[in-house]
Every structure is written in structure tokens, then in C-alpha cells.
């Protein structure tokens, strides 16, 4: 190889190295560029059948969504749009490619694939939901702060009519209000109990911020104030202090309890024919579904820090508006009850014994002795 050739090879190798080390800067498409057009409420697309569909994305609602809050770019999902060519009428490829949520949410996708919804979809049931149908396109929200009823309205009840089924289930409406559908229908997911403050007069839940403002605390200082033994869980005496602090601040709200699934990927694995139907799975003092109890203080963002509470609190009279037969029964009542029953037995047994022991006395009296 001549010296000239070595020189060229050196230049090529150096160029390659530089290119790999310092890639040519790409000009990422900003969300604002997309919203220049899609932020217009009048933006529609005309379909071949003459109908129109809205292509509007509400910027505020998007910003408030999980993706907006986490600064996800439009092109992170619409990844087939790599550049905008304003010389064209539509500056990006049309139609845009199908967004595959599982590119990021792979665990959720795997769980969904094993669900009754995916199975129905595979059979050609067009109504069977995919991600968007439940979570919306652009306004996906945090769900941690939602109540069971809010979750059901957002998800299951949009397609399903629980009253039509569940004939076997006693106290249907109560179960529907306090137990998330997925608790039974996604049986492999962990469960826990939410406790929220609810004002019976105004029929509204108190937000976390409202409660903390009343107590002069923040989300970070809440546990520092009440978890005096620093074990990370509010036990019955610590919970008592919390209740007392609320009363001092004249917060007259009850603790609204409900059973929910952990919002983990597996919750998407909703099954058919394998739902929990054994009452004793929940209605047992040994049921693990009540082991994890959290006080939920919601945030305006939809997030909701969960503060752990001991199971014993559910079995106390601090929580009077949530009661699961057997599972959260007040143990003290059993002791009182045992004493009441023993009282009756002791009275009968004691009186009978005395009557037997005094038989000779009565016999002597009858015989005039």
C-alpha cells in the first residue's frame, strides 16, 4: 500500500470515528410544532365517506396527562415522523403509523396479551379494547388517586354492565362501589385497601392538599409528624393521633375504605372464567387482601402518595364506614360476646348446680324435719 493510500484510509477512519462519537445533530421536532396545527380545535380530517374526524389535541389536557407531565414528545410515540416538511400540505407522512404503546409499556403489553380482551380481539371482536380505548389517546391520566367508582366509570363500565351478571354475588351494589372489578377479575394481582377522607355532608372526598393544609403539613412531612416510632407504618395509636389532629382542626370526615388492585402491569391480565368467586377469599380474618392498608392523600396531578397503615386500624372504630364481613371484624366484640354468652351459660349452670346441691334441704323440709 502506497503512502497516499494510507493517508486516505486514515482520513476515512478518523471521519467514521468522529461521526460515531459526535453524531450529526438531528433537529428534534418540538411538541409546540405539532400543536401549531393540532392545537387548533377546528382541525379535522375528511374521510372518504365524507365524514370528518377531529385531529385536535387539547394542549392543556395533554400537558396534564401522564405523558405531558413527564415531557414525552409527540414523536416519541409517533416515531415514524422524523421530520416536518412544510413544503407539503401535510408536513408529515400520511397516514401516520399505528402507535404501539408496548414499545415503552412492554410489561403491560405482555399482561394484556394474556387477557380476555386480547383473546376477544384475536377472535375478531372489534369492540374488544386495546390500549387507547381505556386509556385514551393523548390524555392518559394517573390513576393512583382515583376511587373505585371513578376507575370503574373510566374503564370497565364503558363496555360492561355488571348488573346483568354477578347474579351469584350478594350485596352487588356494595361490592361494585367498594371493590375494584379487577380485584376479582385479575386474581393474580396484589390487593390493598385505600382509606380516604370523605365528607358526608358535602358528599365529597377531601383532597390530600386540603387535609395537609388543615394540618399545616406537606406530603413529605406527614409521616414525620405522625409516624412517631419511625417504622414507616401508622399503627393504631399513631392513627389515633392523626384522627385527633383532624378533630382539633374541625375536619369532620369519615374514612372511606375500598379494596383495589395494585396498579401494576399485571392488572391488564383480566381473565374470563377465572375470577374470584369464593367469598372466603376476602371474608376471612386471615385474608391477605387486607394486609396492606394505605391512607391516600391525592395530589392535583392525579398522583396520590400512599401512607401505610396497620391492618388493625380497619378492625377499630376509627373506620366505621368500611366493613368487610369477618375480615375487618372488631376483635374486642368477640371477647365481649364470649363473656355475654358465658354469662348466660354460667347463670343456667350455676343455678342448676345450686338446685341440685340443695335437693336434701328441700327434701328435709317436705318431710317436716
Amino acid at each position: 500500500m502506497t503512502g497516499q493510500k494510507w493517508k486516505w484510509l486514515f482520513v476515512i477512519m478518523m471521519s467514521l470515528s468522529l461521526a460515531l462519537t459526535f453524531p450529526i445533530p438531528s433537529f428534534a421536532i418540538e411538541n409546540s410544532e405539532c400543536l401549531d396545527c393540532h392545537g387548533d380545535p377546528d382541525m379535522v380530517k375528511e374521510l372518504p365517506n365524507g365524514k370528518t374526524i377531529s385531529l385536535y389535541v387539547n394542549p392543556k389536557k395533554f400537558k396534564a396527562s401522564v405523558h405531558g407531565q413527564n415531557d414525552i414528545a409527540c414523536t416519541d410515540c409517533h416515531s415514524d415522523i422524523t421530520e416536518l416538511n412544510y413544503d407539503k400540505e401535510v408536513p408529515h407522512p400520511v397516514p401516520v403509523a399505528f402507535v404501539n404503546c408496548t414499545d415503552c409499556h412492554d410489561e403491560e403489553g405482555t399482561a394484556y396479551e394474556e387477557s380476555v380482551h386480547a383473546a376477544a380481539r384475536a377472535k375478531g371482536v372489534k369492540k374488544a379494547p386495546i390500549c387507547y380505548n381505556c386509556h385514551d389517546y393523548h390524555y392518559t391520566k394517573y390513576l393512583y388517586g382515583d376511587t373505585v367508582v371513578q376507575l370503574e366509570n373510566k374503564f370497565c363500565l364503558r363496555c360492561h354492565h355488571p348488573e346483568k351478571y354477578h347474579k351469584w354475588l350478594p350485596q352487588k351494589k356494595t361490592h361494585f362501589e367498594y371493590v375494584m372489578c379487577a380485584v376479582c377479575h385479575a386474581p393474580n394481582v396484589g390487593k390493598h385497601i385505600h382509606l380516604r377522607l370523605y365528607d358526608l355532608m358535602s358528599e365529597k372526598f377531601l383532597s390530600g392538599q386540603e387535609i395537609l393544609n388543615k394540618l399545616g403539613l406537606t406530603y413529605d412531612t406527614f409521616m414525620k409528624r405522625f409516624d412517631t416510632n419511625k417504622d414507616g407504618v401508622l399503627d393504631i395509636s399513631e392513627f389515633h393521633r392523626f384522627v385527633r389532629a383532624l378533630r382539633v382542626e374541625k375536619v369532620r370526615a369519615i374514612f372511606w375504605g375500598e379494596m383495589t388492585d395494585n396498579l401494576e402491569p399485571l392488572v391488564h391480565k383480566v381473565t374470563k372464567g377465572r375470577a374470584i368467586k369464593n367469598c372466603k377469599t376476602c371474608h376471612s380474618i386471615k385474608s391477605p387482601f387486607f394486609d396492606k392498608v394505605y391512607l391516600v392523600l391525592t395530589k392535583p396531578t392525579g398522583q396520590a402518595p400512599h401512607y401505610p397503615v396497620k391492618r388493625g386500624v380497619l378492625q377499630s372504630f376509627y373506620v366505621t364506614h368500611f366493613y368487610a364481613l369477618d375480615a375487618t371484624r372488631v376483635r374486642l366484640l368477640d371477647i365481649i360476646g364470649l363473656l355475654i354468652v358465658l354469662g348466660g351459660v354460667a347463670f343456667a349452670g350455676g343455678h342448676l348446680t345450686l338446685r341440685i346441691l340443695t335437693i336434701p334441704l328441700r327434701r328435709r323440709r317436705r318431710e317436716g324435719r
Partner: protein, 207 residues
């Protein structure tokens, strides 16, 4: 031996439906309350049976209440001031002392006045307070969502349940005491027989 017609047919029918019903409710109540330890039937079945029998007992109570109010017999349950103090004390002395010595029962039932003062006080509370409260709380617990407003007014489902459970324990205890006290006739089975035939046998007074 004197024979007195103490218990008319409607009262006897009511009593035995009530007795069997309450016994059944206590048994299923034990199963529901302690589902981990007592398994007579599956929990769901126990709840269903408890609800059905509870409804029968509630209707039976209404039958009793109507009969007693419209016939004026309800007065039987209200002790006079004299009965409340002197009669009650005398009866308590009999059960607590005289009965062991072989003293005669100071109370002699008549069709118009068939309960002794202690029975009156006990049954007044049971029939006009405890049973209605138990029926009311049972109805509320039978349809929690439907009666949500009343339940909230009473302080929550756990409060309603607590009242129901405490009365359940009371009735379990009462069954033991009631059964035993029913053996204190002139023979151990005299009162049981009277509640079947309607005729109470009363030994003639010795002079």
C-alpha cells in the same frame, strides 16, 4: 292440679316459629361471624339462609305485635309500679333463694297476667326493644347500599354491625337462660308442655 289456658294458638305458633328462627339465626350468625372456625355450610349459603330466616322472624314479630296490640294483650308486658319494685324484688328473692329452700313461687299466672314481674321486665326489653332493633339492623345490613343514608346517619356500617352482633351474643346467651328457666315449672317439662298444648298446670296451693 289446676289447669289454666295460658297460651292461645296464635301465640304458640308465633313462639315456636320465633324460637326455631332465633336458634337458626344464632347458628348461622356464628358461622357468618366466625367463618374461619365454624363451617356448617358455605359462607354464602349461611348468609342467604340467615337473610331468609331473618325475614321470617321479622314477619313473625309483626304477627305477634299486631296480635298483641289489637287484642290489648300488649298490656301483659308492662309491669305496674308495684310489680316493678315489690313484685320484682319478691320474684328475685324466690329465684335467688326461695327456690332452693322449696318455697312456693310467689307468682300465679292467669290468662290476663301470665308473666311474673321479672319476666315482664325482661320480655318488655326483649320484645319491644331488642328484637325490633335486631330486625332493623338486620334489614340495614341486608341491603347496605339501599339503606346507605340511614346507615350513615347511625354512624356507619360497622356501628350497625356492632349493634347487631352484640344483640346476637345477647340472644345466644338468652337462649341458654330461657331454656333453663323454662325447666323451673312444677316439673322440668311443664312449661314446655304448656307452650305446646296451651294449658299450664299449676299445683294447688297447700293450706
Amino acid at each position: 292440679m289446676k289447669r289454666i289456658y295460658l297460651h292461645p294458638v296464635p301465640v304458640r305458633i308465633w313462639h315456636w316459629i320465633h324460637a326455631l328462627g332465633i336458634l337458626f339465626l344464632v347458628l348461622t350468625g356464628i358461622q357468618i361471624r366466625f367463618a374461619d372456625y365454624f363451617i356448617l355450610v358455605p359462607l354464602k349459603k349461611a348468609v342467604e339462609l340467615h337473610n331468609i330466616v331473618g325475614l321470617i322472624v321479622a314477619l313473625d314479630f309483626l304477627l305477634w305485635f299486631t296480635f298483641y296490640v289489637f287484642t290489648g294483650r300488649i298490656r301483659t308486658y308492662f309491669p305496674s309500679a308495684e310489680e316493678l319494685i315489690i313484685g320484682g324484688f319478691r320474684q328475685a328473692m324466690y329465684y335467688g333463694y326461695g327456690i332452693f329452700r322449696g318455697d312456693p313461687n310467689p307468682f300465679h299466672p292467669t290468662p290476663e297476667n301470665k308473666f311474673n314481674p321479672m319476666q315482664k321486665m325482661a320480655y318488655l326489653f326483649i320484645m319491644l326493644f331488642f328484637i325490633p332493633i335486631q330486625i332493623l339492623t338486620g334489614l340495614l345490613l341486608w341491603n347496605i347500599k339501599g339503606y346507605q343514608q340511614i346507615i350513615n346517619f347511625m354512624g356507619g356500617v360497622k356501628i350497625v354491625d356492632t349493634i347487631h352482633v352484640l344483640l346476637f351474643f345477647f340472644f345466644a346467651s338468652f337462649i341458654c337462660a330461657h331454656f333453663y328457666l323454662a325447666t323451673l315449672g312444677h316439673t322440668p317439662w311443664a312449661h314446655f308442655k304448656a307452650m305446646i298444648t296451651g294449658w299450664e298446670e299449676e299445683p294447688e296451693e297447700e293450706h
